[in-house]
């Protein structure tokens, strides 16, 4: 594969790595109390997440490293940034204020006025948490089947329904909600919603791990929605709204999520090397095999992200790298639990946390089964295996 990591990206990586250096202890604190992020908002890692993907013109102090300015809107730079922060702690990274996935939806669908208002708000001095509401209790993340209803009400609409497994929703100030205005795939809309709107209720769901993600459930009870809150309502045809935004956002974010999983994998394998410098030969070979797979997955993720930046959105490859990275995170933590010896899950708090956190990536941004179907389609079309490497 061609090298896509330029000196500019290496400089970004080094900067983020330094900012992520202290996150593990705080990550353990967040695991116990997900609201503890409020005590750490002064950290450079939070600054990175707050400004990440916010266009530089909205920021008083955009990220500058060695004379270069970074808004991290490149998918590759985003994936590298998130990988390094997740090497520190993935839960901490996900607990941070900032655009995360809602920003990508606004970019994909919003008109100029909506984008401007959104980023102006994100750039305010006070922290703003956001959410991306797609998944539903009965339908999962099947965007074409969602049931949350947007019903006409005078010159606007009312929103009714439920979302589930939505990061940060119980703590956010605004977010994007995918909902159904009419039957069929063209009837889906994306609405930008303030969480203080009457009828909006969100609560935290207790999870096995990755508690920093603050996975939440939302109920909408006749929430008033103005036309101006529907992303692209005035500027896009129905066929270019709603569903298109959900799909584009997920595609754009899968390499970023892969970066999260790969950062965690690297963290747990490095932890084994630190804690067990003199492994038996068999154990050492197992660790080396994991590290080889990690190196290969990272290289592939960078290629996929760079291709997205170049306008080549290869669904099968995006799906492949996401599902492989999620598997690797799980397998690396299982391996670490084996290699660190009896009762390591009780005695080693970092291992315990990473072991539980790693299970989240399988279902985030599309389950492994859904990704496999995309890979299958790519094999049939001859794009997954047979297309020449870059």
């Amino acid at each position: 594969m061609a090298e896509v990591i330029t000196p500019r990206i290496e400089a970004l990586r080094a900067h983020v790595r330094e900012a992520a250096g202290d996150l593990r202890t705080i990550g353990l604190e967040l695991d116990r109390d997900p609201t503890a992020i409020d005590r750490w908002l002064h950290l450079p890692a939070v600054d990175i997440m707050r400004s990440c993907t916010v266009p530089a013109e909205y920021l008083t102090n955009p990220l500058r490293i060695g004379g270069e300015t970074y808004d991290i809107r490149s998918c590759l730079e985003h994936a590298v940034t998130i990988e390094e922060l997740s090497y520190g702690d993935a839960g901490f990274m996900l607990a941070c204020p900032g655009p995360l996935m809602s920003g990508a939806a606004v970019d994909a669908l919003g008109d100029d006025k909506q984008r401007h208002a959104y980023y102006q708000r994100l750039a305010r001095p006070e922290p703003t948490w956001t959410f991306f509401g797609l998944t539903e209790p009965a339908k999962g993340s099947a965007a074409t089947e969602l049931e949350t209803a947007l019903v006409p009400d005078g010159d606007g609409f009312r929103l009714t329904g439920q979302k589930r497994y939505v990061g940060n929703a119980a703590f956010a100030q605004l977010g994007v909600v995918f909902c159904r205005r009419a039957p069929g795939p063209l009837g889906i809309e994306a609405v930008l919603l303030d969480t203080d709107s009457p009828g909006f209720h969100a609560e935290l769901i207790e999870t096995v791990g990755l508690r920093g993600a603050r996975i939440s459930a939302i109920r909408f009870q006749d929430v008033r929605v103005e036309r101006s809150q529907i992303l692209g309502y005035e500027s896009l045809k129905p066929s270019r709204r709603g569903l298109v935004g959900a799909i584009r956002t997920l595609q754009r974010f899968r390499p970023v999520l892969a970066g999260t999983a790969l950062g965690l994998s690297r963290a747990v394998l490095d932890h084994v090397r630190t804690e067990r410098p003199r492994l038996s030969r068999v154990a050492r070979l197992r660790l080396e095999a994991a590290q080889d797979r990690l190196a290969a997955a990272r290289a592939r993720n960078y290629q996929v992200a760079a291709a997205i930046d170049a306008g080549q959105v290869r669904l099968d490859r995006i799906a492949g790298v996401k599902t492989r990275a999620a598997e690797l995170a799980e397998q690396s933590t299982l391996l670490a639990a084996d290699l660190l010896g009896p009762a390591a899950l009780l005695e080693d708090p970092l291992l315990d946390k990473l072991y539980r956190d790693a299970r989240a990536f399988e279902f985030m941004e599309g389950t492994g089964h859904i990704q496999r179907l995309a890979v299958f389609q790519g094999v049939l079309k001859g794009t997954f295996l047979d297309q020449p490497e870059n």
Partner: protein, 209 residues
């Protein structure tokens, strides 16, 4: 009498089943692992620190000495039966759940990928039962069975989607079963002696190749 597998999803009943393992191995007492840890209900131990990722009623306590060989043998066997029942509960829950989930006009149980996972899990459960029935159990065999059940559990929990990650549900049940195996069944020091001996038992689920 053994309770139906699905009741294991209740944290109090899981803790009671774990206590029953202790009772069978050490009547009236507790069995400490070779690393001297005891996992049991707070009621049985009388105190201890909460188990990471577990319900409040389940605690870990460190003893001065490990349990005796016979106690540990009996306890390990019971623990594997409990782990097997936990995986069965996750499978049964997935079948019930996906039979109710309709997509594109059919239940999700009609998807071939789903059926494949269900069948593979059932095969792993059947094999684990057969292995547990073999005479002459060894620590190495028990560790292999644990790892097989761990892999089966990790596969079948995916049928629950994000719901499998909720603390109140099958995700925590599997985590506790894995934690118990890591504490009581791990052969130490790095687990690599198992599988290296026969070259076949180390599955791919933990990157053994």
């Amino acid at each position: 009498m053994t309770r139906p597998a699905d009741t294991l999803l209740d944290p109090a009943l899981f803790a009671a089943e774990l206590d029953a393992c202790h009772e069978q191995a050490a009547p009236g007492g507790l069995v400490a692992s070779r690393s001297r840890w005891v996992l049991a209900s707070r009621q049985r131990t009388g105190g201890g620190r909460p188990v990471p990722g577990g319900p409040s009623g389940l605690v870990a306590v460190q003893h001065d000495t490990p349990g005796g060989e016979r106690e540990l043998d009996v306890f390990a066997g019971r623990l594997l039966h409990l782990h097997r029942r936990a995986v069965r509960a996750v499978l049964d829950g997935a079948l019930a759940r996906l039979d109710q989930r309709v997509s594109e006009g059919a239940t999700l149980l009609n998807r071939q990928l789903v059926r494949g996972v269900v069948a593979d899990t059932a095969l792993a459960l059947a094999e684990a039962a057969d292995l547990l029935d073999l005479p002459g159990a060894t620590a190495q065999r028990r560790w292999r069975i644990h790892r097989d059940l761990r892999a089966a559990g990790r596969a079948v929990i995916k049928l629950h989607g994000a719901a499998g990650f909720q603390a109140a549900g099958p995700g925590r049940l599997l985590h506790l079963a894995e934690l118990l195996g890591n504490t009581y069944l791990h052969p130490g020091p790095d687990g690599s002696s198992v599988g290296a001996a026969d070259g076949s038992s180390v599955g791919s689920e933990a990157l053994d190749g």
